[in-house]
């Protein structure tokens, strides 16, 4: 199946995604993150890299609302 994609807009979005990743990484409280149990720590790192809260919360074994609260405690922003 062919999908009609606007390539120039896609490039713009990919640049924005990279900028968002950089902001999440720079603002995160890494001391807090490294103190977490491995499952939660890796989920937070996954979120920083991808911005994907649903998969990150599954990795952490938490529901989305609890994981969203954890992001606040780890000072990881939602960049939209």
């Amino acid at each position: 199946m062919r999908v009609d994609v606007d390539e120039s807009r896609l490039r713009k979005w990919l640049e924005e995604a990279e900028e968002a990743r950089r902001i999440r990484k720079a603002m995160a409280n890494w001391e807090f993150i490294e103190k977490q149990v491995p499952r939660v720590r890796e989920a937070l790192k996954y979120y920083i890299e991808t911005g994907d809260i649903r998969r990150a919360s599954v990795l952490a074994g938490m529901d989305i609302e609890d994981f969203r609260e954890l992001l606040r405690r780890a000072n990881i922003p939602v960049v939209v």
Binding site: D6, R9, L10, W13, E16, I64, R68, P77
Partner: protein
């Protein structure tokens, strides 16, 4: 930007909208919540708020029909087939399908869903709003008072409350629009 009669919200939007939730119902007559989205909401505070607004008919449950779910699954697959795109999942895909088919404004903070509406031509006409667009509309329609001495007050409050960051370019655009109302 004009307000719309109906909107449909995804999970993250509802969770993060705590402080400003009731402004939604001054911008939209009814905000629908797909059953798929409702299943992801767990906290007592959010459930209590949803239940009370369902009672007041400000929120409404959206029961997805089989062909909408099937189309949403197709959209999820598409989002994973385009290299480097931010993937979406079924709850936000259902919101996008309903936005396209029924013309509802899609309320989301999911960057993948926002990207779909800009990148895939079939979804270019879907209105996808973040908190930023809802707050802007609330200002432009008089739901929120414009403070000309601090035009971004509510946007900054929202960012601080929720630890959201809006792109600088978008915030500049919002400032210009609101300041034009102060001249």
């Amino acid at each position: 930007m004009v307000s719309s009669e109906f909107a449909i919200a995804d999970t993250c939007f509802l969770i993060d909208w705590a402080r400003y939730r009731d402004i939604l119902f001054k911008v939209f007559n009814v905000v629908f919540i797909p059953e798929t989205v409702l299943r992801e909401v767990k906290s007592e505070g959010t459930i209590t708020w949803i239940a009370s607004r369902l009672t007041e008919n400000k929120l409404a449950l959206y029961t997805e029909v089989e062909n909408e779910v099937e189309e949403a699954r197709r959209l999820v697959e598409i989002s994973r087939r385009i290299p480097h795109t931010l993937p979406i999942d079924l709850p936000e895909a259902i919101c996008l399908i309903v936005g396209r088919v029924r013309g509802y404004v899609v309320l989301t903070e999911n960057k993948g869903a926002i990207m779909i509406s800009e990148v895939i031509n079939e979804y270019r006409d879907v209105a996808v709003w973040r908190a930023l667009e809802v707050l802007l509309t609330a200002h432009l329609t008089g739901v929120l008072n414009i403070d000309c001495s601090d035009p971004l007050k509510h946007f900054m409050e929202y960012q601080e409350d929720t630890l959201h960051i809006f792109p600088r370019r978008d915030i500049t655009g919002v400032r210009n629009l609101i300041e034009s109302r102060c001249r």
